[in-house]
């Protein structure tokens, strides 16, 4: 298990991380969320030893993380980068060897991953000769080629087309199913909601929400209420609630979980025919916005 405890990092006067703590478990996918500049990349770099925190520590299976532990980690930074002039097969083999694999095993693993990503016939091509999408795949393969126990991906979905997003999401699920702990950051909250079991939301260097996605949703004091009415636009008359979207007579409101539904339905019916009426736990987006705006004192 990956345990991050009280991680603090300052760059001069700028506080990038301010006592962040969370865990990641084998076989589970953690979505790591936060606004730009919240400290996601700094946290990931600290896990990989690229950033030395001022305070706090990162532990793997109970031990402080050192070079030996890191050899079992896979990392894809937000700023993608590989040697453009190297042959793809050699490049993958090189990174596998750097992570401690022996020559023959590294070669085999590289060939295996290229085959798995549909690039089996491009092993002899230079990286720069590949399409942008295929270069992204090689980058992912570099993070996975040495069979890591923990995979950390910084914005892995950015820049992918919908098909690429779909296949990467599928692959992450498969990898986690083999017992690997996966942590990735993203701004695509619907995607995180679909793929991740766990979520960590960070803001201003502090973890503002962390836990199992479904549990967090269920435990929320809010519900998402969605009503569509034929006829006049319906304005919700509620004691509390935030309208999150309003379109073509359909209204989505975040309401207190204890709201009197009969009363709401009755008020909607007074306006026109109700064609849709749903009352569900809030979406991850709702949780995110709530957690982040609370931290900002909004």
């Amino acid at each position: 298990m990956l345990a991050i405890h009280d991680l603090t990092k300052r760059y001069g006067d700028v506080v990038a991380l301010d006592g962040a703590s969370f865990d990641a478990s084998p076989g589970r996918i953690v979505g790591f969320l936060g606004p730009n500049g919240a400290g996601k990349t700094t946290t990931m770099r600290a896990i990989l030893g690229l950033v030395r925190p001022n305070r706090g520590e990162v532990r793997w299976k109970g031990k402080p993380v050192g070079p030996e532990e890191r050899a079992r980690f896979g990392y894809m930074p937000e700023e993608r980068g590989l040697y453009p002039k190297m042959k793809v097969g050699e490049e993958l083999t090189y990174f596998a060897e750097l992570s401690g694999m022996k020559g023959a095993a590294a070669k085999e693993a590289a060939a295996g991953w290229l085959g798995r990503l549909g690039l089996g016939d491009r092993a002899g091509a230079r990286l720069e000769e590949l399409s942008h999408g295929n270069q992204q795949r090689v980058q992912l393969a570099v993070a996975l080629v040495h069979d890591p126990e923990l995979v950390v991906l910084d914005e892995p979905f950015s820049g992918l087309d919908p098909l690429g997003v779909e296949s990467l999401a599928e692959m992450l699920v498969q990898i986690a199913a083999t017992g690997v702990a996966v942590v990735f950051s993203s701004h695509q909250l619907d995607l995180v909601e679909e793929v991740c079991q766990d979520v960590v939301i960070i803001d201003h260097g502090q973890v503002v929400l962390a836990g199992v996605v479904e549990e967090l949703k269920a435990a929320s004091s809010y519900r998402s209420l969605e009503v569509s009415v034929n006829g006049e636009p319906w304005a919700p008359i509620l004691p509390s609630g935030t309208v999150t979207s309003k379109k073509d007579g359909r209204v989505r409101v975040l309401v207190d979980a204890s709201v009197d539904l009969d009363e709401v339905l009755a008020s909607a019916r007074r306006v026109g025919e109700v064609t849709k009426f749903s009352f569900e736990p809030p979406s991850l987006t709702d949780l995110f916005l709530e957690a982040v705006s609370e931290g900002r004192g909004a």
């Binding site: 690229l50 070079p67 890191r70 980690f73 894809m76 700023e79 980068g81 190297m86 990174f95 750097l98």
Partner: protein
């Protein structure tokens, strides 16, 4: 091999394999070898091999061995002596007048000149005729072939000089200067390759992937080692072919110190490259784009250039203060000491001191540079200031 040493070696091996098998490397090595071999062989063919030629005209009675003996006697005095036989003295004299022959030898007894006598040629012909007559006299004594050989063999006198020959010394210094220029170029080129390599890793962002798997010092040291091995291999290949060319061409023109000068140049390349490549790598870690790489390497190349200029000063006055200091201080020692050693007369303790200072400095610099490199290499974007890199170590 420990994990760190293995990773360092993997980095070095990648640098080696990517560079040594590139077409540019092969072509530049081939061209360097061809140039060096040509520089040695061509003058040897057209200058060293061609000695002044004299022709001796032979008339009347003369031994059939004479042409061969004349040629051998000429070789000893640095003359190529040929012979031509004429049927009678009249045709011989005609050849002498027209300049076809330098002298006419009649019946192995009389020398006929066109006008002035050539003392050198006369001595050669005289000793050749003397040799033949002695051979004949010895034959009449009834000695064995071995005894005869001993009588005829000229004594092999060893010769030494009280003072070094200035001509030989200036040739040595000239050769060392060429070696020093090559050394300077090799350090600048391969040091520059280290800098470019570091900047490439930053600009392509691969450095973050790398450093998630190895320490900055492992990456730095591996890169320096790998590129250094490529440079040393190229240098050694060129030097080796120079030595082979010297041996095969008979080496009459190059100073006798050529092999040792080549050895010293290779030795100082290792130390000088060690010093400068670390400086270049540190400079490279401060910038993120190739366009900035040019300006950031100016200070380093500037220091290197000081050594280059000082080496010329040392070639002029090898015993001056500038030469002495320059040959001891690490940044300039590789260039200056190479020239001073070739000049001769450098006390051994100065060489030892110079090498020791160099080794200690390189070791210390790797520590300092490792910290700056580690603090700067992950900062992509604007140029990193030295102070920030120093403080940001282990970021």
């Amino acid at each position: 091999m420990s994990g760190g040493a293995r990773r360092l070696w993997l980095v070095a091996r990648r640098e080696w394999s990517q560079r040594a098998r590139s077409l540019a490397f092969r072509i530049s090595t081939l061209i360097s070898v061809l140039i060096v071999v040509a520089l040695i062989v061509v003058p040897e063919m057209y200058g060293g091999g061609v000695k002044p030629t004299r022709t001796v005209g032979l008339v009347g009675q003369s031994s059939s061995q004479l042409p061969e003996i004349l040629s051998a006697a000429g070789d000893q005095l640095g003359l190529s002596v040929k012979s031509r036989t004429y049927p009678d003295e009249i045709s011989g004299r005609a050849a002498l007048r027209s300049g076809d022959v330098s002298v006419l030898l009649v019946d192995q007894q009389q020398l006929v000149w066109k006008a002035e006598t050539d003392d050198q040629l006369r001595a050669i012909v005289t000793s050749a005729v003397q040799f033949l007559e002695r051979q004949q006299a010895i034959g009449e004594l009834g000695l064995t072939a071995e005894q005869a050989q001993r009588l005829l063999q000229p004594p092999d006198l060893r010769s030494t000089s009280l003072e070094p020959a200035t001509k030989e010394r200036s040739a040595r210094v000239a050769l060392a200067t060429i070696g020093m220029i090559l050394l300077f170029m090799a350090i600048a080129f391969y040091g520059g390759s280290v800098l470019t390599g570091v900047v490439e890793e930053k600009s392509s962002r691969v450095v973050e992937v790398l450093l998630s798997r190895l320490r900055p010092t492992e990456l730095l040291a591996g890169k320096v080692l790998g590129i250094g091995l490529v440079g040393l291999a190229q240098f050694a290949l060129v030097a080796g072919s120079a030595l082979v060319a010297l041996a095969l061409s008979g080496n009459t023109l190059a100073p006798k110190t050529t092999p040792s000068t080549i050895g010293w140049v290779l030795f100082w390349f290792v130390l000088g490259y060690g010093f400068y490549s670390v400086l270049y790598a540190t400079a490279g870690s401060l910038v993120s784009r190739q366009e900035e790489a040019q300006s950031i390497q100016f200070p380093v190349t500037g220091v290197l250039l000081v050594g280059y200029v000082l080496a010329f000063v040392a070639a002029e006055s090898p015993d001056g203060v500038a030469a002495l200091v320059g040959s001891l201080v690490p940044p300039t020692a590789p260039m200056v000491m190479t020239v001073r050693i070739a000049n001769g007369g450098v006390p051994w303790w100065q060489i030892v001191l110079s090498v020791a200072l160099m080794v200690v400095t390189v070791y210390g610099m790797v520590q300092l540079a490792g910290r700056i490199y580690a603090g700067a290499v992950l900062r992509i974007g604007r140029r990193v200031r030295l102070k920030e890199a120093w403080r940001g170590s282990g970021v």
